[in-house]
């Protein structure tokens, strides 16, 4: 499913995230409990935060997306702050495309590292499409885009912490009917929670 297309072939398949992962680190990193290696190693935290694969499967099966958050208040505060940062991570896509090129892969890997450094944080990937074409097809296309991003994160064993939803063309960032609007509306949003 995942196609890593050489940059030469996919000229502008993806544009950069509108914010960088570095900015995210700056917002959250000062909280020692989030990135502190010792904290990550603490047994109680680990067992709650990093579910084993069997738990993952049962979660998928029941369709439940509730996750067990750490009781650690510092972590909670960090997640809360993350929500309030207003930083939006967005990957854009080509018309009718859900391919992840090499550049995008590098961007996603930064998120993978960030998630590994912050094991209490989960990620919701929201796939979106532009208004062209039919609504139901675009709903499917939006999910494919988010799944393509999730697939890269899956290479880092992060699938269980990634939720995918699609809004198709229903939630555009720009409500205009031109090339620029369409380009920006074809996207996956990274929402940390």
């Amino acid at each position: 499913m995942l196609k890593i297309i050489p940059l030469a072939l996919s000229a502008i398949l993806l544009s950069s995230c509108s914010s960088t992962v570095e900015e995210l680190y700056q917002k959250v990193a000062p909280r020692p409990s989030v990135v502190n290696v010792e904290d990550r190693a603490s047994a109680t935290e680990e067992s709650i935060i990093a579910p084993d694969s069997s738990r993952f499967e049962s979660e998928e099966f029941t369709g439940s997306h509730e996750r067990t958050y750490s009781q650690n208040s510092a972590l909670k505060a960090a997640v809360g702050e993350l929500k309030n940062t207003g930083i939006k991570f967005v990957l854009n896509f080509s018309y009718d495309g859900s391919e992840i090129n090499e550049f995008a892969t590098q961007e996603i890997i930064k998120h993978a590292n960030f998630m590994r450094d912050n094991p209490s944080i989960n990620l919701r990937l929201e796939g979106h499409a532009d208004e062209r074409g039919t609504r139901e097809y675009n709903l499917a296309l939006g999910e494919n885009r988010a799944l393509a991003v999730k697939e890269v994160l899956g290479l880092y064993d992060l699938s269980s912490r990634v939720e995918v939803v699609s809004f198709g063309e229903e939630s555009p960032v720009i409500q205009l009917h031109d090339e620029n609007a369409w380009q920006q509306n074809r996207r996956v949003e990274f929402i940390y929670q």
């Binding site: 369709g63 009718d96 062209r132 039919t134 139901e136 097809y137 499917a140 229903e170």
Partner: protein, 424 residues
């Protein structure tokens, strides 16, 4: 078929809403010239004019007729020669007599000007709450008497309206109305999108997609019953694009179990889920033929977005569209011979009619972003969503390619039209 006094179903938990504005786009010069005379009335005169007015509007919206009124009440002592000289081909005359506060006797007659014969006549009593409905029924009868095919008047529409509430907030409403947009009712209000409403064949249920739980899920609502809305099963991904089997016993929908979007059939009585497509690409937007033997669906299995037809008995899947790089959201015509679909022309998305047998594709519209085509129950018209100015409206085109009418909301967008089957 027709009961003496029709008792009407009431809608539960609904509020009256604004009627969509109906604009008849073009009167065709060659359309059938018909006169619907004012009725002679004993009692409440208003109701007589209501019937004649609704009937004229019905015929004009159909695109098949050029309906007008007369300056005086035409009776059975009609001067055929005079109407013939005016090139009128048929005249409808009627009498209305109020027999009690709420009950009326109605008499109606359709006269053929050339043969000077009565083509249709009916006499009955009706409760005043049933006058609108009975007029649609009579319009269907007259339509049939003149053209030899059914009308689509005694039917209902479902559609979604979207009102901008400012601060990036919108209100989505699932609404139903009579075929002439009158009698509108909101059956669902939500802050999140509503997609793909679909009337059940018995016209008692509506399936639709809601995002109220943060993701797309399929629901069935009972607008005329005090019955809880039912949620169809979903798995970890999207559930969407519901369409009814003609028996009303099952629904086809798109599920993305494990991320793979395929078409499934869900049986409402035994909850059995049957997978109908098995491709790794996107399969979605399924709809049944009227005999229930085929489904048409959208797939990108070829690398392009195209429409396919699966024969359910043999399991064979054939590609239906070969013209252009994007064809999607196909629905079968009631006779099963053609598909209405969304077709990309250069950079524009338009409604096209595909002859399944010959593969001839006829582009029916000239807009930029047309979507969601759906046939009127008689197959004579296609309703679809389009943009006018910056707002979404519904438009109706006859299958002969004539634009007939448009439905617009004063307060926002209208989209996702669906046309019911005939009333039972």
């Amino acid at each position: 078929m027709i009961k003496l006094v029709i008792v009407f179903l009431t809608l539960y938990a609904t509020a009256a809403v604004a009627v969509l504005e109906v604009t008849v786009l073009k009167k065709d010069e060659n359309a059938f010239p018909i006169v619907i005379s004012p009725f002679s009335v004993k009692g409440d005169a208003k109701q007589g004019e209501v019937i004649a007015h609704i009937m004229r509007d019905n015929f004009n919206r159909s695109g098949e007729f050029n309906a007008s009124s007369a300056d005086y009440i035409v009776t059975s002592q009609i001067d055929f020669g005079k109407w013939q000289a005016q090139k009128i081909e048929a005249v409808v005359i009627g009498k209305l007599e109020q027999v009690s506060e709420k009950v009326f006797n109605v008499e109606i007659e359709l006269l053929d000007i050339y043969s000077r014969k009565t083509l249709y006549a009916k006499k009955f009593a009706v409760h005043d709450s049933g006058i609108r409905r009975i007029t649609h029924y009579l319009s269907d009868q007259i339509y049939f008497a003149l053209l030899g095919e059914k009308g689509s008047f005694d039917t209902r529409l479902a559609y979604v309206t979207v009102v901008d509430k400012g601060k990036r907030k919108r209100e989505y409403r699932l609404e139903i109305s009579d075929s002439d947009a009158q009698n509108p009712q909101t059956i669902l209000r939500a802050a999140s999108p509503i997609l793909s409403p679909a009337w059940s064949p018995d016209q008692n249920k509506i399936a639709y997609v809601s995002f109220k739980n943060g993701r797309s899920e399929v629901f069935i609502q009972y607008p005329f019953m005090r019955r809880k809305t039912q949620k169809l099963p979903y798995f970890d991904g999207i559930a969407s694009a519901p369409a009814w089997h003609p028996s009303g016993e099952s629904i086809v929908l798109t599920l993305s179990k494990g991320g793979n979007k395929d078409i499934y059939s869900y049986h409402l009585k035994n909850d059995k889920l049957t997978r109908l497509t098995h491709d790794t690409g996107i399969d979605t937007e399924a709809s049944y033929s009227a005999d229930g033997e085929r489904i048409a669906f959208t797939s990108n299995r070829s690398g392009q977005v195209q429409v396919y037809i699966k024969h359910l008995k043999t399991g064979k899947i054939n590609r239906a569209t070969f013209n252009g790089s994007y064809n999607a959201k196909a629905v079968f015509s009631p006779d099963g011979k053609s598909l209405a679909l969304v077709h990309r022309v250069d950079r524009d998305y338009r409604i096209a009619l595909l002859d399944i047998e010959t593969k001839d594709l006829t582009i029916m519209t000239e807009n930029k972003l047309d979507e969601s085509p759906f046939f009127s129950p008689n197959g004579g018209m296609i309703i679809f969503a389009t943009n006018k100015g910056d707002s979404g409206v519904l438009s109706v085109v006859s299958i002969l390619g004539r634009e007939t009418f448009e439905l617009a909301s004063k307060s926002g967008e209208v989209r996702e039209p669906n046309w019911s089957h005939y009333s039972k």
